[in-house]
């Protein structure tokens, strides 16, 4: 029997409604409209323009027809190897912030809590960036959000060490997680954030992550996204970021494993003189699918955005980069740059790239470039002619290709971890 689109979504909704704990912090109105949107539109398949190369509905049909929600409890011993020494390590297990597993440290100006501890004024911000009516996966998360992480840096505070959020999924039979986080860096504050994603159980997980991030006036948030979820993980990761006047937001996403990894990284430059930098590197093998979608929304004048994404696709894997830049009519003097470079390592690997620029202001500088090719055979021959074996020569060239992105990771032990996994994947 062939199931219809709405059937797949409905089956999932029914199962989640039966199993998932009631969402206590999300306003009822948001939940209701999220469910309504899902019932109406369904989980997107490849007929949906934004999910053309990333058929989420097919994944759910194939891998998650029955969802058991059989979660594992995790202990400190499970988390220890995932930690980063020079950071404050915070832990979110199957979407739920775990105070018990997180490191307790009193840092001036830093608030770490569960989402259900949000004050009413903070609650008002919830869903203001991640809107259900823009994307079915946001709607799914909103409707079934677990009690995730709330992180705030109060105005005028600089957090001296990186904050490391470990989002870890673990189950023993097919499960779905809807992890949510809310990061608020207030005016004149600064923080460095690492978000790591793991699946350490024996079961397949559909991980649907949504994070809303706010960067206040003259504030700075430097993010690193580290994705190493393994072959049992299918994940959609949505970042909805809003940055303010004179602020600086950057993110570097390193995707090292995951059967399906879809990243939606959407940044609104809501006021003048702010800048956003999005970078990404992936290496894929087997039948992995890595799909990076970015949306940079320039709304006001004198702002800058930079994007650099690189990918290496091996075996039968595929990679996608879709980068949309809006320059609205008030956003004069915008500088927006975008570059996507990819290397295909086999005849069966695929790369899709799609830059999309929509410019409504007339005094702007915008550029985009994309290239996809095979490894440079002339360079390969040159290295081999000096006695370097085929394998080492390839690795040298691929490392050289990735180096400028690996260099963007400012935390030494994270950089080491990335480099180690990257070399292993080559």
């Amino acid at each position: 029997m062939i199931e219809t689109k709405s059937n797949i979504t409905q089956t999932l909704l029914d199962q989640l409604q039966e199993n998932a704990p009631k969402v206590t912090f999300m306003p009822d109105a948001e939940i209701i409209s999220a469910i309504r949107y899902l019932e109406d539109k369904g989980i997107p398949n490849n007929k949906h323009e934004d999910y053309k190369y990333c058929n989420i509905e097919a994944v759910l049909r194939k891998e998650f027809k029955t969802v058991e929600q059989a979660f594992n409890e995790l202990t400190n011993a499970d988390i220890a190897p995932l930690k980063i020494d020079e950071a404050i390590n915070l832990v979110v297990v199957n979407g739920v912030y775990s105070e018990e597993l997180s490191e307790k440290m009193i840092v001036k100006g830093l608030t770490v809590n569960s989402l259900n501890q949000l004050s009413s004024s903070e609650k008002a911000l919830l869903c203001s960036q991640a809107k259900s009516e823009t994307d079915a996966l946001i709607a799914l998360n909103t409707a079934f959000s677990a009690n995730g992480l709330f992180l705030q840096v109060d105005r005028n505070n600089i957090i001296p060490m990186p904050l490391h959020v470990i989002y870890v999924n673990s189950g023993n039979a097919n499960f779905v997680t809807n992890t949510r986080s809310f990061i608020n860096v207030q005016a004149n504050a600064q923080a460095t954030l690492i978000e790591s994603f793991y699946n350490i159980g024996t079961a397949k997980v559909f991980s649907n992550f949504v994070s809303e991030k706010f960067v206040g006036e003259n504030a700075k948030l430097t993010c690193h996204t580290f994705q190493n979820e393994g072959s049992l993980s299918y994940s959609v990761n949505t970042n909805q970021v809003k940055i303010n006047k004179y602020s600086n937001y950057s993110n570097t996403t390193m995707t090292l494993s995951g059967e399906l990894v879809r990243n939606n990284h959407n940044v609104v430059l809501a006021d003048s003189n702010c800048e956003a930098h999005l970078n990404g590197l992936f290496i894929s093998n087997g039948t992995q699918q890595i799909d990076n979608h970015t949306l940079i929304d320039h709304q006001m004048p004198h702002c800058e955005s930079n994007e650099l994404y690189k990918g290496i696709a091996k075996d039968k894997s595929s990679g996608t980069f879709n980068g949309k830049i809006f320059v609205r009519k008030d956003a004069q003097k915008t500088n927006a740059y975008q570059s996507s470079k990819n290397i295909l390592m086999s005849d069966d690997a695929t790369i899709n790239t799609k830059p999309q620029l929509e410019i409504y202001a007339d005094d702007v500088k915008c550029s985009h470039g994309t290239s996809t090719g095979k490894i440079d055979t002339e360079a390969l021959f040159y290295l081999k002619a000096r006695g370097i074996g085929e394998d080492s020569a390839r690795k040298l060239l691929l490392q050289a290709f990735a180096q400028e992105l690996i260099d963007k990771i400012e935390i030494p032990s994270l950089q080491e971890r990335v480099l180690h996994l990257f070399e292993k994947a080559l």
């Binding site: 040159y382 290295l383 002619a385 006695g387 060239l397 180096q403």
Partner: protein, 253 residues
């Protein structure tokens, strides 16, 4: 050292080498000259193992081994070095890292341990002086942003580092001004010993004023049509290749 017998090579349907015979012994310098399109660069490419060419006939013995059976990297590890006519730029790979990898892979092939970092850096310092290569260039990406002269000097620097048995210099003089030419040639001469050999491939006699050959061979239409001592190069310079062309155009080559 190397013995080339009746070597034929093609690219696609086009036969470029049509029966090369050449014997080079340790301690010797051989020059191969010839007009454009005579097959000079094809010969060096085939010897280095470039895969674009098909060897259709003949054999090449290098230190008692069948060279044509070896991969490009194993040829280098056996002691064959090709100084490229057009050295490749490799952004992101530092000269130092590249050379350390090369040197250590060659050492591993011969069952030797990796060279200690300290010794390696001392060697870099010593050998870069040989071709007056700025130490800063050693830490930059391979050939990236190098001038033409710097690229050629970098080739000879690599040769000095890897200490090959047989060096093939493919048009190393092309694009060099007289000062750079002198530096490159001095470097090559200093590396010369009774245990190694050099094949200098060139269009012009000029380089041979600096690197004096023991034998000169004229390549035309994929064959060595004339061999002699260093005076043959001067003769070619004086008369040009036209006489060779006339002499061998008509004969069925």
């Amino acid at each position: 050292m190397i013995s080339i017998k009746n070597l034929h090579a093609s690219i696609g349907d086009k036969e470029i080498l049509r029966g090369i015979n050449l014997e080079v012994k340790a301690g010797e310098v051989h020059a191969i000259m010839g007009p454009n399109g005579s097959g000079k660069s094809t010969l060096s490419s085939v010897l280095a193992g470039r895969e674009d060419y098909d060897v259709t006939e003949g054999e090449v013995t290098f230190n008692g081994k069948n060279l044509l059976d070896l991969s490009t990297e194993d040829r280098a590890r056996e002691g064959l070095f090709l100084a490229f006519q057009y050295p490749i730029e490799i952004p992101g790979v530092s000269n130092i890292n590249f050379l350390r990898t090369a040197l250590n892979e060659i050492r591993a092939y011969h069952g030797q341990e990796e060279m200690a970092a300290k010794d390696f850096l001392a060697l870099v310092k010593e050998k870069s002086k040989l071709v007056e290569l700025d130490a800063k260039l050693a830490s930059r990406s391979v050939n990236e942003g190098f001038s033409g002269g710097e690229k050629k000097r970098n080739e000879i620097f690599q040769m000095a580092m890897l200490n090959p048995k047989l060096a093939i210099l493919d048009e190393t003089d092309s694009g060099l001004d007289i000062d750079a030419l002198r530096i490159v040639a001095t470097g090559v001469n200093k590396l010369k010993s009774k245990d190694n050999a050099t094949i200098v491939i060139t269009h012009y006699q000029r380089l041979l004023d600096y690197i004096v050959p023991d034998f000169v061979h004229i390549l035309y239409k994929g064959r060595i049509v004339k061999s002699g001592g260093k005076e043959l190069a001067l003769e070619m310079e004086a008369k040009g290749y036209d006489e060779i062309k006339r002499e061998f155009e008509s004969s069925e080559l």
